[in-house]
Amino acid sequence: MPLTKTEQIVNASLKARRKKERAFQLFGIAAIALALFFLVTLMGSILSKGIPGFFQYYITLEIELDRERLDPLGDLSEQSLFDGQAKKIIEEVVLEKTGAKSRNGRKAARKLLSNGSDTRLTSFVRANPSLLNSTQKVKFALDDDADSYFRGFVKKETPEQQRRLSNIQIEYLDKMNEDGLISHEISDYLFFGSASRNAEMAGIKGAAIGSVLTLLVCFVIAFPIGVATAVYLEEFAPKNKITEIIEININNLAAVPSVVFGILGLAIFINLFGLPRSIPLVGGMVLALMTLPTIIISSRAAIKSVPPSIRDGALGVGASKVQATMHHVVPLAIPGMLTGTIIGMAQALGETAPLLMIGMVAFIVDIPGSVTEPGTVLPVQIFMWADFAERMFVQKTSSAIIILLLFLILMNGGAIWLRKKLERRW
């Protein structure tokens, strides 16, 4: 049977149309592949730089813990250890191990160890007073330039003037390495050190504690207020102009860029209320205002998902509206509310810009002990480290990012787990 004219036209165009169909699908796959490629590149770039950052090079030296020299007052007090000759003792051992003789050589050899070596020795002594007056193997961090040499960032082939280590220093490092003094281990400074300009000593402990304190303040403020607002708007609020304005406001606040909340904190909390800068209390309050819309919106969704039959049941057996809500609806909505809150907290944990503006970017060595002591937070620490030029800081920054991401994965994973575990399907 001969084909009709329409069928001929359609058949003729089919090949081209099928080709277009395949091309369209390919576009979709390509787009997803590209997005996933970005994700992999991002993670790969962070991991490849960050994993080496978890390790650093240490040197193990045999130190004679002469009590008279280390602890002249004999009471192991901070002052006494500070007055002692910890630095000199270490230097003597280093000079002996490197065999440095000339004036320049001795000067070069001294620079190979981290600036914080004497503090490390005194804290070692303080932790193990019974070892005084014996000879012990103590591990010290290498200076970041020496560390970079072992990592291969500083190369022997580079002309001497263009690298940060002199020929003689490299010679000493090689000698000590051949003697088996150098080891490559997990960096204890990264986890237990505080902010420092010396790359080899810098750590995230202070920032991590600051983050915890800030999030704590944020949670204590945002969760009750958010839940109360959601309950009020969803269950009790009369449908009038004020309620409408509140709802528009919440949606608008969710859209305001985070940096604006920083300005709010600066102008109101710091300049008007006279609260100190850089403290986790102010940071937490700013972040609380910022996460409030997220918590309110998700809490409202959670309340909405509780079926009306629950309310009707409670009302039917004689509960008041408030009792029905507080005793039945809210407890059933709590898992959903918590999920939303955790997601909001995760946002707050990663937020940087508003905290910069309330001064949490200050260089703070002390670890904050309470919410009113100056501190910084992990993302801000990352921001500050990212500005430092030393190669070792690049790796430490990436390590800090990995730790931050782990926290975020933990929180988001927790939220998903909570949702799966506790949320009921009606």
């Binding site: 979709g28 609020a237 102008a267 993302p379």
Partner: protein, 461 residues
């Protein structure tokens, strides 16, 4: 002091709870009747009255006393003191506060030490007064509550009314925050516009706030600073355009594929993976842009003989684009999935291929939602801060060349307001004016997005 007052007020509350329940039990047992409400409510009513008003008063006092003290101290500054602007006053006040708290640096003037003594006296008096007032108020309110407790008293209704008032007040926080934002920005902006005419701010093509300090030091460069915000807005626009040209095609095609073609399993794996991109903190993207992407673009550009700035708009915009892919894809995915199946079936019935149905039927139907999602992505890009601070630099070039270094509104706000500021200077105030325009732009974008969604939402239902 604060803790002691709060703890004692809470303790008083517990006490009144016990007194309330005991009283109602006694009366009812004696008369052999049942009260209107549960015993718990008769106890809670005086307890809430005894705790809530004093604690509210206390927190207001804590906020207000420093403000009042500062004003009183300022009034007591010696005559003829040379004060250069607000900044010096604030430094003096901080010094007085520190001395009052026992932190003495250097050799302060006698009058400063005198004022510090006055301040600590005031503080002691203030602490005593507030302690008296709060505890007194707590007792009075609690006693009033107790006096109301009778078998016929509708305690449950009263407690519920108090609770609802509390909930209502919490919901006002959102409004207070908005008012706070508006006020903190508007006042400083008005002061800025007194120094710099709005027209110059909105139409000027040179942004150069850095000479303020130099002009003050008398270096002869008065008048060099310029506050034309056009370069900042052009920079913001340029970076947003670059970000969108990455995120819209990738996000949209991903959304189409995921909602129309992908199997359930693929969708279930890919969607959360894409959303990871939205969960990564912006400081991480900033680091990635500055350390990996920018050098990569620079080297690649160098191979083709292009001169790419080390802090180029391209790198910042590209990375920002990666960040907002999930915003575009999630929202578009939702609206595409919301298009009724009957529309697709009709297209298939007419003999169209799947892609033809999508292109000619599904996408036009979903277009308003897609446009809204793109607008939201724009507002996100305009407000994004850390990536531009870390990767786009601070050079306020008026340029549309993506290979140049540009700066954005948010980046300028952060740079100006981080660290110590000179309060009176136009430079500091300019950040507030920029913030005002930023808020305005994002709210307008949001408004349009919502309007589009609202207007076309129910067309196909």
């Amino acid at each position: 002091m604060l803790t002691i007052i709060s703890v004692s007020v809470i303790f008083l509350g517990l006490l009144f709870y016990v007194v309330g329940t005991t009283k109602i039990t006694r009366i009812c047992d004696a008369a052999g009747i049942r009260p209107h409400s549960l015993f718990m409510y008769h106890g809670s009513f005086p307890a809430i009255l005894a705790v809530a008003p004093p604690l509210v008063l206390l927190s207001l006092w804590v906020v207000a006393d420093d403000i009042v003290f500062n004003m009183m101290l300022e009034a007591r500054f010696p005559e003829g003191l040379e004060v250069e602007g607000r900044q010096t006053i604030l430094i003096l006040l901080a010094q007085i506060r520190n001395i009052a708290e026992g932190i003495i640096v250097g050799q302060p003037d006698d009058w400063i030490i005198g004022l510090a003594d006055t301040l600590s006296n005031w503080r002691n008096t203030s602490d005593t007064i507030i302690a008296g007032i709060t505890v007194g108020l707590s007792v009075i309110c609690g006693l009033f509550g107790i006096s109301r407790v009778k078998p016929e008293f509708r305690a449950r209704n009263a407690v519920e009314a108090l609770l609802l008032t509390g909930l209502g007040i919490c919901s006002l926080i959102a409004i207070i925050t908005t008012i706070g934002i508006v006020f903190s920005v508007i006042f400083e902006s008005i002061r800025f516009f007194k120094l710099v005419p709005p027209l110059e701010f909105l139409t000027g093509t040179v942004w150069n706030p850095e000479f303020e300090g130099a002009a003050r030091a008398g270096s002869g460069q008065e008048g060099m600073s310029a506050y034309g915000s056009i370069p900042l807005f052009v920079g913001t626009f340029l970076i947003s355009i670059i970000a969108l040209s990455v995120s819209v095609p990738v996000g949209l095609f991903s959304a189409i594929y995921l909602s129309e073609y992908a199997s359930k399993r693929v969708r279930g794996t890919v969607k959360p993976l894409l959303e990871i991109l939205a969960g990564v903190p912006t400081v991480v993207y900033g680091f990635f842009a500055a350390l990996s992407v920018a050098p990569f673009f620079r080297e690649t550009g160098g191979m083709f003989g292009l001169d790419v700035a080390s802090e180029s708009a391209l790198a910042a915009g590209f990375v920002m684009g990666i960040m907002i892919i999930p915003f575009v894809s999630s929202l578009s995915d939702d609206v595409i999935s919301a298009v009724p199946q009957s529309l697709r079936d009709a297209a298939f019935g007419l003999g169209s291929t799947k892609s033809e149905a999508i292109k000619k039927v599904v996408l036009p139907a979903a277009l308003p939602g897609i446009v809204a999602s793109i607008i939201l992505a724009v507002s996100r890009a305009v407000g994004e801060t850390m990536i531009v601070v870390m990767a786009a630099g601070l050079a306020a070039n008026l340029s549309l060349n993506p290979l140049d270094a540009v700066t954005t509104v948010t980046a300028q706000i952060v740079t100006i307001l981080v660290g110590d500021q000179e309060f009176e200077s136009a430079k500091t105030l300019s950040a507030f004016a920029l913030a005002l325009t930023l808020i305005f732009i994002t709210l307008v974008l949001n408004f349009f997005a919502l309007q589009i969604v609202k207007k076309y939402r129910e067309q196909y239902d």
